[in-house]
Amino acid sequence: LQWPYCRKRCSYCNFNTYVVPAVDEEAVQACLVREVRTLLRLSQVKSITSVFFGGGTPSLASPSTIAAVLEAMAGAAHLPSDAEVTLEANPSSTTTQRLAGFKAAGVNRLSIGVQSLDDVELRLLGREHTAAEAQAAVEAARGLFPGRTSIDLLFGLPGQSLDAWTQRLEAALGLCDDHISLYQLTLERGTALAAQVWGGALPAPPQDLLADMYQAARTMMVAAGFRHYEVSNFARKGALSTHNLSYWRAEQYIGVGPGAHGRFVPRGEGGCSREARVQMLEPIAWMQAVQSSGHGTGKRVMLSPLEQLEEVLALGLRTDEGITHERWGHFSPHLSLEAVFEAPGQALQQQGWMVLDSGGLRCTERGLAVLDSLLPDLLCQLQRS
């Protein structure tokens, strides 16, 4: 579920977010609620396993809005009390009081955009908060959501050294709960930071340094008892994000709100194949669409069986469990993993990039780091089969 508004745009972010002086929250809430109802009816989903409030900055929404949306879900489908309900939060909008409000509204997991624990780096990233505020926010969150607070960190910032990164991570490990996402900074076209780097005002981090940072982080995280369960995600004590796993396992999900993406079978209108859907990007247009027709879907594309398998492959291999035979069989009942990937699998297996065994097809630790170089060949292989 997409809350598209931010107080300020960060220098590295190219998401579909909007900085507006005043949000008509009542109207947005009404539209989110209406779209939730419409799309749940369309999908005929009976039971919801997880909810994720992303953005934007959904922690800027009021707890009553979150509550209203969750109530709407519970009214249209089964929403078990232990379903994971995550809210993305910025350290600058997370007082203990607000967090308590979100908890009362039904949120049971927090993902805090810490990004860095260094004030200079935070300024470079255009973040509103300081390292101290981030620390306070995480501590407050852990008090209210023990074992269910996640933090995000970025590495590979322009000018960042390997030492600086390991120090940041060390500090984060002292602060964190049982889930951390470590993202290599991606320079996105159209962002202020990318313009500075490509224009030569800031140094571009060398490829080999990024590889070293990634390896160092993995080593530290594993030593601290975390499982490296996806390219950028680490969890201990089983605190994996159910919601994000469902993306990588190519399960069904419904996207609600401006610019939200979904993948589901619209059984409610007689559909029988999986569709890729994107809601309209611009909030005002989206709201008008929701008001007039119940939902603001801007684009829907039927996914062919091959396209579905391509997604299963590209997403599943990002996880440490890989693609199980069972999941593959669900999307490809006639052609097994072995039938498709036996030949190239052997070569990649010999070179130490991948494993194909009774557990399914997955990357080795080395292979995961270069997955994007492996995928084009695997996709070609899939197209040929």
């Binding site: 900074l185 490829q207 390219v231 939200a260 990002r318 997955l371 170089s373």
Partner: protein
């Protein structure tokens, strides 16, 4: 095929001629009044001309030669207008440049000819203008046009003065013992300095100043005087209609419906429909279907007589049957073939392979169309282990590759523009090869001579006693301030200075003997860029010279890259090898393993670069909203993989070789 719409346009112009033009001597095919206006197109149904009215002494055969842009085509337009050959309209811009590529670029590639009728002091003259290409890369076509002439008009720009091509063209005419009429053009220009140019002409060509004619072809100033000079200075052809037929083929074109149209100059006898003729070169026999003159499109006549210039259609199916320089004679009346005919030997070769083999047939038909009209290039099927099926293009002239091939490929594209595959011409691998001659010692048989085109055929060093490479004699004319840089450039290209002469106080003419492979790709561009465009260049074939040649291989992880193997002078091997390795390192993307990029002579490695393996390449964030974009990118990469060239296990993008082979302009 491509010419058909222009033919129609021509007739449209001729029709509009009647009311507005006032020619001095009405062309005989325009008897006047409305008869001409009724003629649409299709020349066969109208009355044929009687050419017997023009005896040898009333005929002048001439060419206009000039450096590019000095105004040759504009002068030709004026001559055609004054003699009433074409109507006087503002649209007469370079009407002899028939090919569209020529129109578009303002340069002439293929020679076109026209017969003009002119009355001088009560005598009707037949003036045959044989147009010549005006571009630096076409000396070969210039020389073959001159062989049908007795004189030339040498046009020099009053502002730019003598340029390299002026010199080269002058000597071509001079050596052919032709009468030379120097004409100084563009005297209307603000910076025109005809005195200076006259002095240059006197100094360099030893032609008295008072023989120069100052004109403005654009405004028509003094153009009449040029016509008078043609009649006075150029001798009529020395030949006799009573002799047996002897016709020189000096050009040929292809017509989709009528076959080959050979342009001929009669050195003796006469020719008409029904004659049985023989090619001295191929010994093949043909029956003449049609003869005529060019005006400048084909105009049938009853006969052609000795001294006249025109065309013959005789059932030849391919341009190669009408070899330039060949002699035609009557069946059972053989004559001594005309002096100077050599069966042309190709000088430059290019391997051409479609990147995507499914494009083979499309490219094939495009290339066939190209060669139909152009006998200076032939194609042969060829295949490469690495690149699949393709062609070897053989060019019968030592032209500079970059410029001309681009031109010729534009012609291909032009043909392709009629089909839905117009972008095709860009997706080919193209490699330039020269022909080298090697002498090999065999213990039992003694010495043998072999010619090498493909570096893959290069033999073991031990057995070779001598290597020969093709050379050209280059002429450079430049303002003196660039001499230093140009000498350095030439030395860097292994050229040997043969001559250096100040043609006036500011301009210098340099002559250098160049190895062809040093200029074939980019010398002209380099020269132009270091002289801010002021230096001009022309060249002629100069045979073979001994050179220390070796074969250099480029290896990727030990596997040779066929496209990059070269025959190279040993002095250049190290620097070139190093450069190629560095360029390849930039052109090949990082892969999952380390790649050694090496240059090797035999087993000896002379340069090496290392492309490190990817250690990390995986996108950080991939959630619900990122997936669509991600899949698009991955699928594009997967498609790209299919077009990669695999060398061993190394994947090389298709543009990498072109990026590697492209030379930087010399500093």
């Amino acid at each position: 095929m491509a010419l058909a719409p222009r033919t129609v346009m021509w007739w449209a112009r001729l029709r509009s001629l009647c009311p507005c033009a006032a020619p001095r001597c009405l062309p005989p095919w325009l008897p006047g009044g409305s008869a001409a206006c009724k003629r649409l197109y299709g020349s066969r149904d109208k009355e044929k001309l009687d050419m017997s009215a023009y005896p040898v002494e009333n005929i002048r055969n001439f060419s206009i030669i000039a450096h590019v842009d000095h105004g040759k085509s504009t002068l030709a337009d004026r001559l055609l207008e004054i003699t009433g050959t074409i109507a006087k309209t503002a649209r007469n811009k370079q009407v002899l440049d028939k090919l569209q590529v020529e129109r578009e670029r303002g340069i002439t590639v293929k020679a076109q000819s026209a017969s003009l009728f002119y009355n001088h002091e009560g005598v009707n003259y037949l003036l045959n203008l044989i147009d010549t290409p005006g571009h630096v890369d076409f000396s070969y076509e210039v020389s073959r046009s001159l062989s049908a002439c007795q004189g030339v008009i040498l046009v020099v720009d009053a502002n730019e003065g003598i340029q390299a091509q002026t010199v080269a063209n002058f000597y071509l005419a001079f050596e052919a013992q032709l009468a030379i009429i120097p004409v100084i053009n563009k005297i209307d220009l603000k910076h025109a300095d005809p005195e200076r140019v006259e002095k240059q002409i006197e100094k360099l060509f030893d032609i008295p100043i008072d023989e120069c004619v100052r004109i403005s072809a654009k405004q028509g100033t003094n153009v009449e005087k040029v016509l008078q000079k043609i009649i006075e200075k150029i001798p009529p052809p020395q030949c006799n209609t009573a002799d047996p037929l002897k016709a020189l083929v000096f050009d040929s074109t292809f017509d989709h419906y009528r076959g080959v149209i050979a342009n001929i100059a009669l050195f003796g006898g006469e020719i008409q429909k029904g004659h049985k003729i023989v090619s001295a070169h191929t010994k093949k026999r043909y029956e003449v279907n049609e003869v005529g003159i060019l005006t400048p499109n084909e105009q049938p006549t009853h006969k052609l007589y000795a001294g006249q210039v025109g065309y013959v259609i005789a059932g030849m199916k391919e341009v190669t049957e009408a070899q330039i320089g060949d002699t035609l004679f009557l069946y059972k009346q053989p004559v001594e073939p005309l002096h100077g005919f050599k069966s042309a030997k190709p000088m430059v070769f290019a391997g051409m392979y479609p990147v995507d083999q499914t494009e083979y047939n499309n490219l094939k038909s495009a290339l066939e169309k190209l060669t139909l009209n152009d006998s200076s290039v032939t194609i042969h099927r060829d295949s490469s282990l690495a690149l699949g099926a393709g062609w070897r293009l053989a060019f019968y002239t030592a032209f500079m590759f970059g410029t001309v091939l681009k031109l010729r490929m534009e012609q291909v594209k032009h043909f392709l523009a009629f089909s839905p595959i117009c972008l095709l011409s860009y997706s080919v691998y193209l490699f330039v090869n020269l022909q080298y001659v090697l002498f090999i010692c065999f213990q039992e048989y003694g010495k043998a001579e072999i010619t090498i085109i493909n570096p893959a055929q290069f033999p073991d060093k031990i057995s070779v006693s001598e290597y020969l490479e093709p050379t050209v004699l280059g002429t450079i004319v430049t303002p003196q301030e660039y001499i230093g840089k140009i000498i350095v450039l030439c030395q860097d290209r292994r050229a040997v200075q043969k001559d250096m002469l100040y043609i006036d106080e500011h301009r210098v003419m340099l002559k250098y003997l160049f190895p062809l492979n040093e200029i074939v790709l980019d010398f002209y561009d380099a020269l132009k860029s270091l002289s801010s465009g002021y230096a001009s260049f022309d060249y002629e074939d100069a045979g073979y010279q001994a050179a220390d040649l070796i074969k250099m291989d480029i290896l990727l992880n030990g596997n040779p890259v066929e496209e990059l193997a070269t025959i190279i002078h040993s002095d250049k091997a190290y620097a070139t090898g190093k450069l190629l390795c560095e360029r390849l390192k930039d052109a090949i993307p990082r892969q999952l393993f380390e790649i050694a990029i090496q240059a090797a002579i035999g087993k000896k490695i002379i340069a090496r670069e290392t492309l490190k393996a990817y250690r990390k390449n995986v996108v950080a964030k991939c959630y619900g909203g990122d997936i669509t974009r991600r899949m698009k990118l991955l699928k594009r990469q997967a498609e790209g993989k299919k077009l990669m060239r695999k060398i061993g296990n190394v994947e090389v993008p298709r543009d990498a070789f072109i990026r590697v082979l492209k030379r930087e302009p010399d500093k």
